[in-house]
Amino acid sequence: MDFSVIINNVSFLILQGFLGLGNFTGGTLRLAVPAIILGFLLGTFIGIGRLARSRWIYVPTTVYVEFFRGVPLVMVIFWFWFIIPVLVGKALPEYSVALAAFVIFEAAYFGEIVRAGIQSVPRGQAQAATATGLTQAQTMRHVILPQALRNMIPALVTQSIVLLKDTSLASIIGYVDLTKAAQIVNNREIRPFELYLFIAVIYWLCSYGMSRYAQHIERRLAINPA
């Protein structure tokens, strides 16, 4: 056991691998944060679409959700990795491919959370909003979504933790995230135990911290119900 390997490479692992500040386009957070935001935005449309009355909206969004929830993420990443160059005509950087794959894949999961959130808002709210003269879109934007969002927060944080952990899979197409950074250092130093344990602890701190935060919010919402 020789943990000096961590001390010698800590700036590469953290700055380059975790934060993405370095010579490579990389970083766990630089991938995870936009993927969470964009995945949630796309997921909101998917989730609303799943509740639409029109079959032309309801069926495609349902197929979308069921398809991506039935396929491994690794497979989806490979799809994007091999198909985007064919569609676009040129190879794109790993970052764009990984971001696209994560947003599309996670939107299916975020969509289910949004759908459950909207369904948790009592029907009377929509009826009352319509009765005051709001259009359907206004009702959704001003009445339903703000209340739904409140109910969704714990599940959203949980899904964000899942996404943060999933970004480690971007390393299989060569994106330099925390996991890839540890691999790079390990190829030179051959200290797998110390390195993989170290990144496990980093991931653990982020994801456990976030889950405690989710519990905290859940408790606060329980005390002051809407």
Binding site: F67, G70, V71, P72, L73, V74, M75, F78, W79, F82, I83, V86, L87, G89, Y109, E112, I113, A116, P154, A155, L156, T158, Q159, I161, V162, K165, D166, S168, L169, S171, I172, T179, A182, Q183, N186, P192, F193, L195, Y196, L197, I199, A200, Y203, W204, S207, Y208, S211
Partner: protein
């Protein structure tokens, strides 16, 4: 977009055989890992509900530590970091008997055991407390009450979330390709490498995953109907870790 489809790559040459071998490896890997996850999940899930604090604490540490770290990191950990710590004869044996497969089994089993534990715990907690009190008052010890009454009821209640979790395990078994287990995604990539037909290879692999998951979901929903306890369901949690 210029791409010439050639679906025959899937049955010419060795592709079909590779896909079949990949599917078999995926099923083997998932099945063995599932047994490990099931054992770890039930025991740690049950321990998290008992009144003995050190045991409850131990089970919580296991669950919180393993499920909050990416599976890929666990794959690397069990494959690259743990074997060198073993005694030489054990290492020799392991590398003669498919070390990557067993590392994959342990990584998947221990990781999913922690996630499965949460399902079992919520199942046990959804059983009314009086059930346990009644069992103990008939003279059963705590261990007997869990083994004979609580866990059998909980297992019947958790079939839907446990199915979900089992399908996650199958899908996550694809991560084992990173340590060289020749499972379905690995073989899909191999076909792509040999034929340069990414679209056809990925379609085949994706369809096999979808069919496999669909088949299991169908079987499990039949089981669920058979074993359902009227009036008792476990509340479905969205966005579980």
């Amino acid at each position: 977009m210029t791409y010439n489809f050639d679906w025959s790559v899937l049955w010419r040459g060795q592709s079909a055989l590779w896909l079949l071998q990949g599917l078999i490896t995926t099923i083997e890997l998932s099945a063995v890992a599932w047994v490990l996850a099931f054992i770890l999940g039930i025991s740690s899930g049950a321990l998290r509900t008992v009144s003995i604090t050190p045991l409850r604490w131990l089970a919580s540490v296991y669950v919180e530590f393993f499920r909050n770290v990416p599976l890929l990191v666990w794959m690397f950990f069990w494959y690259f970091a743990v074997p060198p710590l073993l005694p030489q004869p054990a290492q020799d044996w392991l590398f003669d008997h498919g070390a990557e497969f067993w590392a994959g089994v342990v990584a998947l089993g221990v990781y999913h055991g922690a996630r499965f534990s949460e399902v079992v715990r919520s199942g046990i907690q959804s059983i009314p407390k009086t059930q346990f009190e009644a069992a103990v008052s008939t003279g059963l010890t705590m261990a007997q009450a869990y083994r004979l009454i609580i866990i059998p009821i909980a297992l019947r209640l958790i079939i839907p979330p446990a199915t979900n979790e089992s399908l996650n395990l199958i899908k996550n078994s694809s991560v084992a390709l990173t340590i060289g287990v020749a499972e379905l995604t690995f073989q899909t990539r191999q076909i792509e490498t040999y034929t340069a037909k990414a679209f056809e290879a990925l379609t085949a692999g994706t369809l096999i995953y979808l069919l496999l998951c669909l088949a299991i979901a169908t079987i499990m929903s039949q089981l669920e109907k058979r074993f359902a306890i009227p009036g008792m369901i476990v509340k479905r949690q969205t966005g579980e870790l």
